[in-house]
Structure formats: C-alpha cells, structure tokens
C-alpha cells in the first residue's frame, strides 16, 4: 500500500488521545477532530493558554499522565502523523459501505458556520459523555450550574463560579468538584449526596479491588475535610430559591423508601449550586452510523469495535467509567484500528495490561453505578409547574399530560405531544427527567444532526452519499461550507511505522 490508511478520531479526551497515539505509532495517519480549542476532553480540560495559568497542575491529579499524552501528541503532530483539528464540531459521520470510506462532517469557526469534511478509511468515536441533571423547583435560576460546568469553569476558565457553593446530586464526580471548588477558594457550604454511606459498603468487594481509585476517593475526602466541607449523605436538594438569581437552597434527608424525612429540611444560603446526577454517553454519531447500542451506550467488542465495519468506539461513549478506563479503551481501540487498517488481526496479548485494567475498571464502574442512583421518589415529588425542558419551557405537568390523557408511551411520543426535547439541545438535558416523570424507558435519542447545522452548509454539500467531494482523495480535510479553499494533510515524515 503506497497510501497509508487514514483514521479519523472524533474526540480528543483521554480515550481519543490514547487512541490517536496508539494508531499513529503504528503507521496510521490520524485526523483528530475535537470541538474544544485544546486537547484534553472533560478530564484534562486545559486552562485557555491566553490566561497564562501558572500552576494548572494544582487543580489536576494525574497530571503526569496528561503531560505524557500531550508530549506524544506534539511529537506526532510535528512529524505529520496526527492532524489535530481543534474547534471542529462534528455534526454527522457518513459512511459509504461499498467504498469503505467515511466523511466526517464538522462545523468550525467561532460561530460554527463553516462546513468541512474529513475523509477517512475508518472512524473511532471517542465523544465522551454529558451530564445528567434532574430538575427540582428553582433549578433554572442563574447560579445553578452542572457539576461539570463548575469543574470546567474551574479548570478551563480559572474563574470561581461564586463565593458560597453547595454541591449536590449523586455520583463520584461530586467529590472532585467540591474539592476543586474548595481548593480554589470558594466556601463549600455543603455536599449533599443522595446515596447513602451503607450502599457504598455493600459494593465493597468491587471497590476494594481498586486501590488506586479508592486512594483517589480518599484523597478527595481528605481535601474536603481539610476545607471543612460538610458532607451530607442520603440527602437531596428540595428546592433552589432566589428571585433574579440563586440565594439559597433547601436540602432534606431521604428515608430508605425515598420519602423526605419530616423535620430534616434545612435552608442553606449560597450563590452557586453545582448539581449532577451522573453522566450519559454521547451516542448520536454512532447511532446515525447504524451502530448498535447496549442500553444508552455504544456497544463494542473486545477490540472496541462497534458492529459497523470500520467504526471503533472508546471511552465514555461506550459507558461511563472515568478517565483511566477511557485511556485503556482508547489505547486498545487505536491498536486494533491500526492493525485492522493494515489488513491484519491484532494480537490482544500485546495490550494485555490495558485489557486487565479495562476489566477491572469496568467492574468498578458497575459497582459505582449501583451505589449512586438518583434519589428514589424524585419524580413523584416534582411539582406540576416546574419547568422540565428548558429549551421549550415545558413543565412537569405538561409532560405528565402527554401520557395521561393523551396516550404517549415512549419518549418520542411524549416529545411529539408535549414538545419536551424538541428545542436547541434536542432533549439531551431533559430526556432523563422526562423518562423518570413518565415511566418511559430512557432510550438514546435519535439525532441524525449531532449539532445544529446552518442550512447553507447542508445545501453546499457535494451530492454524494458521504458528502465527500468527488475529487481530492489526497486531502484529509476539505471545506464544503461557504468558503472554497481546501486544506491539505501536512506532509508526512513518519519514518518506518512501528508494527504490532
């Protein structure tokens, strides 16, 4: 083969980076496409260079791992083995099964108005996940942010979201978020976790197999203690209060059956509330390519292959499990793709260490998943007038009405009859809440357009199945939006590729 195969990796978080490096080291030309301005994803979210942060590592652990990945990325970019396209928001990946070619369609530029398409022989989806937030009265007030939003502000913008914060919801992310806020100088008035401490103990065997992770958790807990953060378990936010913005929250203790314990209500003054109820995988691109899902995650085999030929997936797109799991999966996926693109079968023994880590971390993730569950009874407690779908301003009462009396029985019909999920975010935010309220199973939504696309970009697409121009095979990326210039892949000077 004179032309070296080209792999498009969507997402430059831990999974995408590990995959890109593993593939590039094995002679594959990688185009790494990511919406962010810099590599890193959710976990290694980088302070914008312009802010000139002096000691970002103070906010990060596993800083060493990140430095190693970044050094690798820089090296491969300089050598032309990886083309890193930042600020590229992928709205669709199209496949031509006959030709075995993919067109990865992205929007770029600050306004996301320019269409570009990346040509690839295989695609690796490492799009990560997004946060699940369940509604409660007052959750739309300014000052209420997602846990990840607070973390991102901290890591990315280095701006303190507010002075007095409450962190609430459920899941392992609450600990680092509360710890990060406290370390950065905010007063964290309370961390309200709806899971109970006893639940954690029941999962002890799986958790005990994870010394690293437990140490991580213990580290966070120590940090919280040092900052005098009150940790309230089996406790939930009942309401957020304020007129123009958040002024206080009411928290209450949960009984074992999910009811609120009378007399346990407590009002806490704060100007920031960071809430999160776990994460959900991003599956839009995979779904549109025709990949099977299992539950709400992309289904993959031992090599991280989806059931669509030429499509791999790794990291939180295939299930929520933390950065270390994303790294292991990404590494395996990149090696598998490199081997398969050369027409050989990979030898799993070569990635045995990553494979073992993957098994262990998946067990750990499953154990955590069982511990952290949204507070029972939250849906029944939600008053009819609380807005559930923020984009379309649909209330809980309207969502309930779609089922009874109107007769909806699944999320799609609830959406059609109530408009919940029809707006800008296409239900990413409200679908879990709508599912909980209506008793409909939470299914991954079908979103052929993973991002809102200007009609002008759609109209300017080349009239081919993949949306790739007929000519320009040698180009990694072609502009198909309103400008006509074309961008070439940097000349590769890769030396002899490493073989598997």
């Amino acid at each position: 083969m004179t032309e070296r195969p080209r792999l498009a990796v969507v997402g430059a978080g831990p999974a995408g980076l590990a995959a890109a490096l593993a593939a590039a080291e094995r002679g594959v030309r990688v185009t790494l496409v990511d919406a962010a301005e810099q590599a890193g994803g959710q976990f290694y979210r980088q302070p914008a260079a312009a802010l000139g942060a002096r000691r970002p590592q103070a906010l990060h652990h596993q800083w060493r791992t990140w430095e190693r990945l970044r050094a690798g990325l820089d090296r491969h970019r300089a050598a032309g083995r990886i083309l890193h396209l930042t600020d590229h928001h992928v709205w669709c990946v199209a496949r031509d099964p006959a030709a075995g070619v993919f067109g990865v369609h992205a929007l770029r530029g600050p306004a996301q108005e320019e269409g570009v398409v990346v040509r690839a022989d295989a695609v690796l989806l490492a799009t990560g996940g997004y946060e699940r937030v369940l509604p409660f009265p007052g959750w739309t007030l300014p000052g209420v942010v997602t846990a990840g939003g607070a973390q991102a502000m901290l890591k990315g913008g280095l701006v303190l979201p507010g002075r007095t914060a409450v962190v609430a919801g459920t899941g392992p992310l609450l600990l680092p978020v509360a710890g990060g806020l406290a370390a950065a100088g905010a007063r964290v008035a309370a961390l309200a976790e709806s899971a109970g401490p006893a639940a954690l103990l029941r999962q002890a065997p799986a958790l005990a197999a994870q010394p690293g992770k437990l140490a991580e958790g213990a580290g966070y807990a120590a940090r919280l203690l040092r900052h005098g953060v009150r940790v309230l378990t089996r406790c939930t936010v009942v309401a957020a209060h304020g007129t123009d913005r958040l002024e206080a929250v009411t928290v209450a203790a949960l009984d074992r059956d999910g009811s609120l314990r009378p007399g346990s209500y407590r009002r806490i003054r704060c100007d920031t509330l960071a809430v999160g109820h776990g994460m959900l995988p991003h599956t839009d691109l995979a779904e549109t390519l025709g990949c099977s899902l299992s539950g709400t995650a992309v289904r993959v085999d031992d090599e991280q292959r989806t059931d669509v030929p030429g499509v791999w997936a790794a990291g939180e797109a295939t299930g929520i499990g933390g950065a270390a799991l994303a790294l292991a999966e990404g590494h395996i996926a990149g090696r598998s793709a490199a081997a398969r693109l050369r027409g050989t079968a990979p030898d799993p023994r070569r990635w045995a260490a990553a494979g073992r880590a993957r098994t262990r971390l998946r067990e750990f993730a499953a154990a955590l998943d069982a511990v952290y569950a949204p507070p029972a009874g939250w849906a029944e407690r939600l008053p009819d007038e609380t807005v559930v779908c923020r984009c379309e301003e649909v209330t809980a009462g309207e969502v309930r009405g779609a089922v009874d009396p109107l007769g909806a029985g699944d999320l799609r019909t609830v959406k059609l009859l109530s408009r919940a999920g029809m707006g800008w975010c296409q239900g990413r935010m409200c679908a879990p809440a709508v599912a909980g309220l209506t008793g409909c199973p939470l299914t991954a939504g079908r979103r052929p357009l993973a991002r809102p696309v200007p009609l002008g970009v759609l109209a300017a697409l080349p009239d081919t199945d993949t949306g790739l121009p007929e000519t320009g095979d040698d180009l990694a990326e072609a502009e198909v939006g309103r400008t006509a210039a074309e961008v070439g892949h940097p000349v590769a000077d890769a030396g002899p590729p490493e073989t598997d």
């Binding site: 669709c92 199209a94 067109g103 108005e113 549109t288 025709g290 379309e392 009396p405 109107l406 007769g407 909806a408 029985g409 699944d410 799609r412 019909t413 059609l416 009859l417 408009r419 029809m422 707006g423 800008w424 296409q426 079908r446 979103r447 052929p448 357009l449 809102p452 696309v453 200007p454 009609l455 002008g456 759609l458 109209a459 697409l461 009239d463 081919t464 199945d465 993949t466 949306g467």
Partner: protein
C-alpha cells in the same frame, strides 16, 4: 391519524369503538411526517374531492379543538420560477377552480405582500386559501380523546378473526382477542400486512420522506410555500430522489422543510443527498434560511398504493373488514374525509362522495380472495 379520524366519526355515528395499536398514539408515520392539509397539490379527480371534503371537516374540527391541534388555516402559496412553469401552474389552477378549489393567481410584484422574505425574481404564483395545517401527533391524540373510544396501545394485531363463512368478527392481539362485528384496517404503511392477516391482498408499499426542522424563529414564513415542480412530483413514478420542499412556519416557531420522496424500503438511515436537496430547495425559495440552523431531521414512510389513491371502504373479499389506509403523502389531510366515509359505510349510510375509486379490491386482477 387515519385510525383516530375513523374512531371519531364512527363514535359520533353512535358506534362503540375500540382502537388497537401496537405502539403508542401517533407512533407510526403520523408522528414522522408533517401536517399540511393541502388541496393545492391535487389535480381534479377523486383525491381532490376527498381533500375538499376533508378540508371542510378539518375546519369544523379546527373550530372545536383549535389550538389544541395547532390548526391554522394559513393558506398555501405555490410559486413558479420561470414564465414557462408559471403558465403550466396557471393552467393547472384553472382546472382546479372548476373542481371547486379557490385558486387565486398572484403576479410577481404582489408576491412580496404575501411573503416578504421570498427570493426575488420569481415569475409569479397561485394563492390557495383553503390550504391549512395541523400538528399531526396532537391531532391524532386529541381526535382519539374526543371520540371517547377505548384505547388499547401496545397491542399488536396478530390475526383477523373470521368465521366459517368468512365473516370477520374481531382481531387477535398478542394480549388477547377483541371481538367486533366490524374491523377497520387503518394500519398505514403496514396496512398490507394487516390485510394479509385477513387473507386479502392490499399492495401498500413504503415511500421514504425526510423533513428538516430549523431552530425556532419569529414568524417569517406566513403560508405554506412551495415550488411548482412539487405538483409534478406527487404523481411521479420515478424511484429516484425528487425533492419538492414545502417551506412553512409553525405555531411553535421552527420552520419545517419537507419532504423528499424516495422508494428505498424501510431504510431509516440518514441520507445526506436528501437533506442537501431539502436545504437547497428551501434556500432557493427563502434566501435568509441559509444562515438558519437545522436542529433535526427525521424520516417517515408514507403508505402508498400503485395508483396513488388510498383504499377506503368495505372489503367484499372479507365481509366485516373495512380499509382506511394507503394515503401516501396526504394521510393527515385526507384523514377526516376518510373517517367520515368509513363511518358512513359502517352505518350503512349513503357515502358523501363516490367511493368507487377507493375500492380496496381494485388491485386484484383475478378479483378473488388471496387465500
């Protein structure tokens, strides 16, 4: 939608009605299409007669249910880009007028009054005040509710019960039998399968269509606006992609652009050429849309019969079985008239218009039972 309308008019004729669906309300094509109630795209003939009856009935339901079904008698505007197309369009409209359609020619210089954002340079158009719009899923749900019929969602029909003499006496579902002296097949694109369960042939096939939905906008598109080539496309027999975008604003804000027409079986996967064609067509009509974002796109499968007319009425091959399916790209618009005709057939009343062209057995060459 068609089943809901049949339920409504049957119940209002005094019948006791049960509605069985394997999914939820509006889970079929009704939840995957648009709600144009058009007379403008139909040439004189049986479909147009049914459309005019339906338009009248929709207007009545609009008075009754109004905002709950997002009924809007906004009118349609068909434009022609060249004088040649315009001449053909005006001829077509003249024919429609003799059939009872209100079709008002609009000169090029008056187009901006009707649609201020329309692309300049159009040769002219025709205004159809009878064209209207509903939100299909809401309409289906509200009509069902208004009918008072008992719903059995999540029940799949697995058999049609027939007595020794061939008379239909109910349906078998995966959750038990339901007995009734009359069964109406309103299974849309799957109407052929349901007919087969009763042992009769009805060649309903799917025809895919994509719709593009934009971000919500203040009302900028006032009518249903489309280019004249749409009219030719409806009756076309070509399997290739033909796009005839109807552009319309909705009560909720988004602009809907639809729809493509392709015969590709039940393939739901995204077709970039289809959305490309929709976007290009819409921008051709309304240049400002170039910068507007599409939030989503979806596909549905229109139920079509070889002669592009629905099957409505009793099936002589299976006494007690009635059909109400195969409405292709007009099942929302034609639902009310269909429901009325079915109710009249069920109660032995004289049909409001000649049902002969819609006879369900018309595709049998041997005229017999397929069993």
């Amino acid at each position: 939608m068609v089943g809901a309308a049949c339920a409504l008019y049957a119940a209002r004729s005094g019948l006791d009605v049960r509605v069985v669906d394997r999914g939820p309300v509006a889970g079929g094509t009704t939840g995957a299409g648009e709600g144009n109630l058009l007379v403008s795209d139909k040439e004189p003939g049986p479909e147009l007669r049914l459309a005019l009856l339906s338009a009248r009935l929709w207007a009545e339901l609009g008075d009754e249910l109004g905002a709950a079904i997002e009924y809007e008698p906004k009118g349609g505007l068909v434009v022609a880009s060249t004088p040649g197309v315009l001449a053909a369009l005006r001829d077509f409209a003249a024919g429609q007028r003799t059939a009872g359609v209100t079709a008002e020619p609009v000169d090029a210089d008056r187009l901006p009054e009707l649609e201020p954002h329309l692309a300049p340079g159009m040769a002219g158009g025709v205004h159809y005040p009878q064209d209207a719009q509903v939100m299909p899923a809401l309409a289906a749900a509200r009509l069902l509710r208004a009918s008072g019929a008992r719903l059995h969602p999540g029940h799949t029909v697995t058999g049609v019960l027939r007595a020794a003499d061939g008379t239909v006496y109910g349906v078998r579902t995966d959750r038990g039998d339901i007995h009734a002296p009359a069964v109406v097949n309103a299974a849309g694109t799957w109407g052929g399968d349901l007919a087969a369960l009763a042992g009769v042939r009805l060649p309903v096939l799917p025809r895919r269509g994509f719709v593009l939905v934009t971000e919500p906008l203040p009302r900028t598109v006032r009518h249903k606006v489309y280019a004249a080539d749409y009219v030719a496309d409806v009756a076309s027999d070509s399997a290739a992609l033909r796009t005839s975008p109807v552009v319309e604003g909705t009560a909720a804000g988004p602009v809907l652009i639809g729809a493509t027409r392709e015969r590709v079986g039940f393939d739901r996967s995204l077709s970039l050429p289809a959305v490309r064609a929709l976007a290009a067509g819409a921008i051709g009509l309304f240049p400002f849309l170039e910068r507007v974002r599409a939030l989503r796109t979806y596909a549905g499968f229109r139920p079509y019969l070889p002669d592009h007319l629905p099957a409505i009425g009793p099936d002589p091959r299976a006494p007690g079985l009635f059909h109400a399916c195969g409405h292709e790209g007009a099942g929302i618009g034609l639902a009310t008239g269909t429901g009325r005709l079915v109710a009249q057939a069920l109660t032995g009343k004289t049909p409001e218009l000649d049902p002969a062209p819609f006879r369900p057995e018309r595709f049998d060459t041997d005229g017999g039972d397929a069993r």
